[in-house]
């Protein structure tokens, strides 16, 4: 049974006597005595009821553990004593109110303490009430309160900025893959900047395309806009202004004569008269680009824009593992420039971009620029990272939905509490204790209510997961050979 105990600020305390199976994250409906309105509460912490004499009781229990005890007392009395000692106090936050089955995210009233009743509210029930139906429902995991399927509306990710955060091994990629798979099944186009080469299904599926920079993913110099190439040399390869001016002239000359090619550019620089230092700087940088195989004079095997224009769901995974940092930047720069250009020209449908550990291969200003223009371009961004501080405050402020996996580090939790839309008490309480693959969803994807769920694990992908040296070996070792 649940009873309203007290209210302090936006927190309510609810007594659970006798103690049941309440968990952090559970929703409760605090029904006012009038019966037509309820406050929706969510348990953010569970503590024991403070009763006079509890310390003495506990000390006595400790003493009792060493001796044998024969108790001649009333059964009901003993049962009640245990219930009182075990009773729990649920500290709850108000998440909104229901008036005549209509949900609002705030409440400006407090229920009667004497005549109100508290009942447990299954997450599924409250989500159904709040969400008012889903246009593209997708089962993403199981709710922690009753193990029923948790559906998100994929349409809620459309045109939105979504963050997937958690320490390593907590299940971020598992969730990202599940979302990506759901999007592709629903006919959406996705591009994954795949830092660990893990977003490809094991079984052959033509909807999933692997892009290996330098092999299946190359760019013909002729198709690259001059501005993009110049910015590549300037921003990524730190080419000085003088050298930049020189190569710009060469580029214009070749383009005007219809001889623009990567080899032509190299030769022109090599044999033209210019300052030796400038020539050397340009030659070395073109050598690096040539060695990567990313830019050449061959027509590309796979054209990113053409692939994305095919009908039906499609996911292009840009494999970045093993690439030197500069090439990662180069590839992302070129891929994104192509995509953005095509979108600006209206050649591409809105698409979803998954960026794993985005800070590794591009600066935050690059991403902030995309985030600023994402709605107009038609790009829905999903950032996946284990380092919450790697994303800027600007990105957190723009985030529509956040999926948070386990963090136990105080500074990470403190940072997240400042930048996400969840109050710090709820966030710390929920996230600190989350087991692997369990996640807190907040924001648009769960209709504004913080929901805890376990991600469905999909073994159909080629990579991911933690590889362990001892996992296979320990099973075969005799126990006597193990230390200790």
């Amino acid at each position: 049974m649940l009873y309203l105990l007290s209210k302090l600020g936006d927190s309510y305390e609810v007594l659970e006597l006798p103690a049941g199976g309440s968990r952090v994250g559970d929703f409760l409906a605090l029904k006012d005595g009038t019966g037509d309105r309820s406050l929706i509460l969510q348990a953010v912490d569970i503590s024991y009821l403070r009763v006079p004499g509890e310390l003495e009781e506990i000390i006595r229990m400790a003493r009792a553990s060493n001796v044998s005890i024969d108790s001649q007392s009333d059964e009901l009395f003993e049962q009640l004593r245990e219930e009182i000692m075990d009773s729990k106090v649920l500290r709850c936050k108000v998440r909104g109110s229901l008036t005549d089955s209509s949900f609002t995210g705030n409440a400006l009233w407090a229920p009667s303490r004497m005549s109100s009743t508290v009942v447990r509210l299954p997450v599924r029930e409250i989500m159904d009430t709040v969400a008012n139906g889903k246009s593209v429902p997708f089962p993403i995991g199981m709710l922690l309160d009753d193990d029923s399927d948790f559906f998100i509306d994929l349409a809620d990710l459309d045109g939105s900025l979504t963050l997937i955060l958690g320490r390593k091994g907590a299940g971020k990629s598992t969730l990202a893959k599940a979302v990506m798979k759901g999007l592709v099944k629903s006919g959406a186009k996705c591009v994954v900047l795949d830092i660990n080469n893990e977003y490809m299904p094991r079984s052959q599926d033509p909807r999933f395309v692997r892009l290996d920079p330098g092999r299946s993913l190359t760019f013909e110099l002729r198709t690259i806009p001059k501005g993009a190439f110049m910015s590549l040399l300037e921003d990524l390869m730190d080419l000085p202004q003088t050298s930049l001016l020189e190569i710009s002239r060469v580029w214009d000359r070749l383009e005007a004569s219809g001889r623009l090619s990567f080899e032509g550019l190299r030769k022109e620089i090599l044999f033209s008269k210019m300052n030796e230092y400038v020539k050397d700087a340009l030659t070395r940088r073109l050598e690096v680009i040539s060695a990567s195989g990313i830019i050449n004079d061959q027509p590309a095997d796979v054209d990113v824009v053409s692939e994305l224009r095919r009908t039906g769901g499609r996911c292009l995974s840009v494999f970045l593992r093993g690439l030197p940092s500069i090439f990662k930047k180069l590839v992302i720069e070129l891929v994104m420039k192509n995509i953005v250009q095509a979108m600006e020209r209206g050649q591409l449908e809105p698409m979803f971009l998954f960026a794993e550990e985005a800070h590794i291969y591009q600066g935050m200003s690059f991403w902030e620029d995309i985030v600023t223009r994402m709605r107009h371009l038609g790009v829905s961004l999903l950032f996946v990272t284990n380092e919450p501080t790697s994303l800027s405050n600007f990105i957190y402020r723009q985030a529509d939905s956040v999926f948070l996996f386990n963090y136990s580090n105080d500074s990470d939790l403190g940072f997240l509490a400042r930048v996400t839309q969840v109050d710090s008490e709820s966030l710390t309480s929920f996230v600190r204790g989350l087991p692997d693959l369990c996640c807190l969803a907040v924001g648009k994807a769960c209709s504004g209510l913080p929901v805890l769920f376990r991600v469905h694990q999909d073994d159909g992908f080629s990579g991911g997961g933690t590889k362990l040296f001892f996992r296979g070996r320990l099973a075969h070792l005799p126990k006597s050979s193990l230390p200790g």
Binding site: P52, V67, Q72, L76, F77
Partner: protein, 279 residues
């Protein structure tokens, strides 16, 4: 002057000499004292100090204690909960606790307590259970109790939790630091130190023979675990008999569920009339 020559009033001279105070001091009933384990009189007192024998035989020890709480009033009756605890320690060191209660008594308001009846019952039960051992009581044996006529060679020892002034330096009163028993004549009450450095306790063995008292305390000292000189069985009996607030609350709810009686705290006239600050 009072009839208790040992009583010293620890007030400043200025207050004592105020006219109305000095007038009151002449009234003998002003200094009524609660019944005490220590019988104070003016007869000359003698005493023997005997050392305890640390090679005494180990015997079973059973300690008994009781406690009660007033649960409240309801329907013109007063409700009280009382519990007894018996703690047995065998010579091998095994400890067994038996809790009796809480018993809840319903009685007309201000009509006494079931505590004493329960205590006498538990003490009798303890004496029945033990053979050639020691029954330890918590300074609660009334003078007219017949418990000391025990069977099967068991001794009854009554130890009070009211401790006499402790001689920290072991000089002023001449208490030795080693375990001892001081037997006072003619009252036969004792002061006893059961362990080296432990508190000196007031107690009584129901025997008139000094040697028997000495051997009983010696057996107790080696048979029970001692905590600051106080027997652990007696401490456990106190711990397990005490009715804690959670249990008082449980008993109240149990009465409500079983008998439909809702209990209230009795009215506190002083607090009602004088207010919470002065009441």
């Amino acid at each position: 002057m009072t009839r208790h020559t040992q009583v010293e009033i620890l007030l400043s001279e200025r207050i004592i000499n105020l006219p109305f105070i000095s007038g009151l001091r002449e009234r003998e009933d002003l200094y009524r004292t609660e019944p005490s384990d220590v019988i104070v009189n003016n007869e000359p007192e003698t005493y023997d100090i005997l050392p305890l024998d640390n090679s005494a035989k180990k015997v079973p020890v059973v300690a008994v204690d009781c406690s009660n709480v007033q649960l409240g009033c309801g329907g013109g009756f007063s409700y009280e909960a009382a519990r007894a605890a018996m703690v047995t320690r065998t010579p091998k060191g095994r400890v067994q606790v038996t809790k009796i209660g809480p018993l809840v008594a319903k009685s007309p308001v201000n009509q006494g307590s079931i505590l004493y009846a329960l205590e006498a019952f538990a003490q009798g039960l303890a004496v029945e259970q033990v053979k050639d051992g020691i029954v330890l009581l918590d300074g609660s044996l009334p003078p007219n109790n017949t418990l000391y006529r025990v069977r099967r060679g068991t001794k009854v020892v009554d130890l009070s939790k009211t401790i006499p002034p402790q001689d920290i330096k072991d000089e002023a009163y001449g208490f030795p630091p080693e375990p001892f028993v001081l037997i006072r004549r003619p009252s036969n009450s004792c002061l006893v130190r059961l362990s080296r450095g432990g508190f000196v306790l007031m107690g009584k063995v129901f025997s008139s023979e000094p040697e028997e008292m000495q051997s009983t305390f010696s057996s107790l000292a080696v048979s029970d675990a001692l905590d600051m000189g106080y027997p652990e069985t007696l401490k456990l009996a106190h711990i397990f008999s005490k009715i804690l607030p959670t249990e008082g609350l449980s008993a109240k709810i149990a009465i409500m569920r079983k008998h439909g009686v809702r209990l209230f705290d009795p009215l506190d006239g002083r607090k009602l009339l004088l207010g919470s600050m002065w009441g």
